[in-house]
Symmetry: C2
Subunit: 544 residues, 2 copies
């Protein structure tokens, strides 16, 4: 027990991921970690596998100055990587394999990753890139069927390497501010931006979010007796940090592999999943699947995020017995910053009032602070109407974009992380995001939410899709103009009819008069490569 | 919003008490903070009072290099001090007014406290010491009836000062390692030892213990819906840190003032107290009070500590509907290190088996590690029988005794805090303390727990009290000898009868043969000034 410390010298306990893992393992949880292929093991086995992976990587030359990229589906393998790689002092890089090969090449080169752990389904991706991956020395293949078929120069199958490695590894302490994980977030322009998190940040996110979902009592709790399954990918902000929480608590964990609604539903049914996190499109997909009618979903609690949760989807989920509420965060914020948890005194509110709470963006988690700023940078009151840019502070935010000083300057100003989102905070402390700042329409000193205009337009049955943007106006600076894609199966309406339709939202007090678009353009609305409305291009088109 | 940070420079979020308080206040809890005199207010008012106290102290010249000593009963006033004093960067010194005036003088001089906040009941104590208190410049009186009657040179009554102060105060950020609190722990020899905690340590204790009592599910939970009342004094290791937890959660809090069983019982009844922490003697006192039979205690959860919880008391408490389990820690450890929480798979065990769990010392809380060492400093296995010194690590332990290098060397060795307690850890990870290390009897390479011998002796109805110590033995090093105080109301037995009585514990396998005392001395057992058995003096007497 030689610690290198003098007699009388105290232990400076670092907040490192190893300490979360140590808590889990020493608690001797009897819960299982389950894969969609029905393989399963307990926490003692997880500990062994983490040790085996650390030994494997060490023997392949990975040191605490290396970055190890992982390209995989949601699996217990990936979970081992979440712990082993940062615990040995290396950096875990999670790769969003949905991005373009060009972007993936950029991000692997940008971090100088020396090692790639890659699932066989993504061999062709790596094969196409390998000649341009400047720093990669080792490729570890994951072949679930045991057969390695690739021209790539790879090691033995990951499972074979693990089985050959010792299941004992001594994880050393190090500075809690050491980088633990990194991944890239793609904007509409330029290269993807590298965000990264230190051990301390991941420990604080784990503890704070876990506290917010247990000690701060609300309709969704997540404790050691729950069964967790991710439904946002592990490459996406560490599956919102939940695998760290679930492991810390020693909870049962279920990993769905490649997302498939029927597999997911059968796992919920068979394994008794109680807690997930999800974006609206995935939940929609699951609820629309015929098998969903056969599964009892009444013990399932879902933290929703990624996009505004619609009342329709929330009601459908509730009618199936699901408990859910909204949440919000960004890649840069670790991610969870707010949860739309109803407060204790709201529990006896009627359904409609409670619905209005769970659809809000949410209120800050423990240790987090969220404010909205006016254009001059002053804090706006929490009055449910003062709209400004959402800024945040928490102990777990990325300190910078990796080697990108310019874009870091857009992120951090005056000690606050600037979200680029627009919203307001109400008297109860709930944030409501209303728009992206670059999509807001500034007219005569007033801000108009493009989202609000679009929400009104979407209620006309002839409107298939719509997008409101600001166009230049000599007097007002900008004025709203709406692009309209009509539904070919419905009545084809004209501009005057839409104007009349929109006027009633003004009469009902749901829209400001100055938010009424100046004109409506019936057109094919431009889209980005991933199918989102491209407001940047639209703005150029409509400003002409 | 001038932060002094450059554009692009991130916020280094410090783990300071202000951030716990900020979480509480921004959550807009509607819970009350109640005093035994029936005065009560909400969290917004607590925030105002904390600001008022900071303004009051500032205007009296207290800066972030000052120490402010508080001598008070458990009260919402004291709670304001828990936050305002460290949040302004000063050090909160809590005074155990049960110690001798000589010791209190020592500790106030040792910290160089500039300011004392003192309840009228302790004026006479301060009056007797004031001429020897070298650094005290300001005395703030707490007079609940408004009348100040003392020859001391004091300020206006604390309540008057608060009412005159602004309820707005800007708490600056500072280094999370800044000292936040201090208090003294008295040993059997020498001056009291000053322990102290940084902001970071208190934040980590608050978060970890809170997590352990909510996210790690067991029979006692403590969440924002609970009503908390301390039953170990606020001067004693910040009432085990629970006022910080309760405030962080925005829970309802009830402060009992000067401990009186009837007042306590009436508060439990009237305010609906659900969570407390307590030592066995206080719980005994409460349950023996006639009024306790009239109060429904079935919603009351108690974390027991300070001394071994006896099965008799635990059963009595359970028969009254109370949920309770043991815990353990030291002044030096912040204090909570282990909780005797049954695990999930134990919940369907029978009463007897569950009782055996809640009487154990406990298993480590989140982020804490506890081991037992052999005399050479090697980790002993967790086998339920290997006995050694209990050593600990956690992110919230005092780094040293204040200005006491020698005794710090006894506390910290090889990066582990040495408890001075002896015990073992079982296969499920539960620690069982068996003795103080200085009371252990070392015979022929074996360790005998004096406690074990005494527990056997205590089961003879003629034995009122007993104490086993080691006396020198040429062959074995030490051999156990037992001092016996007979019960004057029972049959007066002789040594041979006791020997026969003790032999049956050996036959039943409950005591090792070599643990049988060599002789029994019928005598008046020496006591310390606070009435505890003085084993040090006894050892000298019996070694003669």
């Amino acid at each position: 027990m030689n610690s290198g410390l003098e007699i009388g010298e105290s232990y400076n306990y670092p907040l490192i991921i190893n300490k979360l893992f140590d808590t889990a393992i020493r608690n001797l949880s009897r819960a299982e970690i389950v894969h969609c292929d029905n393989s399963r093991y307990g926490y003692p086995q997880l500990a062994k596998r983490v040790n085996q992976l650390a030994n494997t990587l060490s023997s392949l030359g990975v040191t605490d100055s290396d970055t190890v990229a992982v390209i995989d589906y949601d699996s217990p393998r990936f979970l081992s990587c979440f712990f082993a790689i940062p615990m040995m002092g290396a950096v875990l890089q999670t790769i969003n394999w949905r991005l373009s090969p060009e972007q993936i090449k950029y991000m692997i080169n940008h971090t100088k990753a020396s090692t790639i752990i890659v699932h066989a389904d993504f061999f062709s991706l790596v094969e196409a890139l390998i000649s341009d991956l400047d720093h990669v020395k080792t490729i570890i293949p994951i072949c679930e069927n045991g057969e390695i078929e690739t021209p790539l120069n790879v090691t033995k199958n990951m499972e074979v390497l693990l089985s050959e490695a010792s299941d004992q590894f001594y994880f050393k302490d190090f500075d809690e501010n050491k980088k633990a994980t990194t991944f890239y977030t793609s904007g509409t322009t330029g290269n993807p931006k590298g965000v990264y998190f230190s051990h301390r940040q991941l420990v604080m996110h784990t503890m704070s979010i876990s506290l917010s979902l247990s000690a701060f009592k609300s309709i969704i709790t997540f404790d050691s007796s729950d069964t967790y399954m991710p439904l946002t990918a592990m490459f996406h902000v560490h599956a919102w940090g939940f695998p760290y929480i679930a492991t810390f608590l020693g909870a049962k964990q279920v990993y769905p592999g490649k997302y498939d609604p029927e597999t997911i539903l059968k796992l919920i049914e068979k394994e008794g999943v109680t807690v997930s996190h999800c974006v609206p499109t995935i939940l929609q997909m699951i609820l629309e699947h015929p098998y969903s009618k056969k599964v009892d979903l009444s013990n399932w609690k879902i933290i929703m995020g990624g996009a505004q949760l619609s009342e329709g989807l929330a009601k459908e989920a509730q009618s199936r017995g699901i408990t859910l509420h909204s949440s919000y965060g960004m890649s840069e914020t670790g991610p969870v910053m707010v949860l739309a948890q109803p407060k204790q005194h709201m529990t006896d509110w009627d359904d409609k009032a409670q619905m209005s709470i769970i659809l809000k963006t949410g209120r800050p988690v423990a240790m987090a602070r969220v404010e909205v700023l006016d254009p001059e940078g002053n804090f706006l009151p929490h009055d449910g109407k003062s709209v400004g840019e959402v800024v945040m502070q928490a102990p777990w935010m990325t300190h910078a974009y990796y080697e990108d000083t310019e874009r870091t300057k857009e992120l951090w100003k005056n000690g606050w992380l600037h979200s680029g989102d627009i919203g307001y905070i109400d008297e109860e402390g709930y944030l409501q995001i209303t728009d992206r700042i670059k999509d807001i329409i500034k007219t005569g000193g007033e801000w108009i939410s493009s989202l609000e205009i679009e929400q009104c337009l979407s209620q006309h049955e002839s409107v298939l899709e719509s997008a409101a943007v600001g166009v230049h106006h000599d007097k007002w600076g900008e004025r709203p103009v709406a692009a309209i894609g009509l539904n070919p199966d419905k009545e084809q309406i004209n501009e005057q009819e839409l104007k009349t339709f929109m006027l009633k939202f003004v009469e009902d007090g749901k829209l400001s008069k100055y938010a009424l678009p100046d004109r409506y353009e019936f057109m094919e609305i431009p889209k980005t490569s991933v199918g989102k409305i491209d407001k940047k291009r639209l703005r150029i088109m409509l400003n002409k």
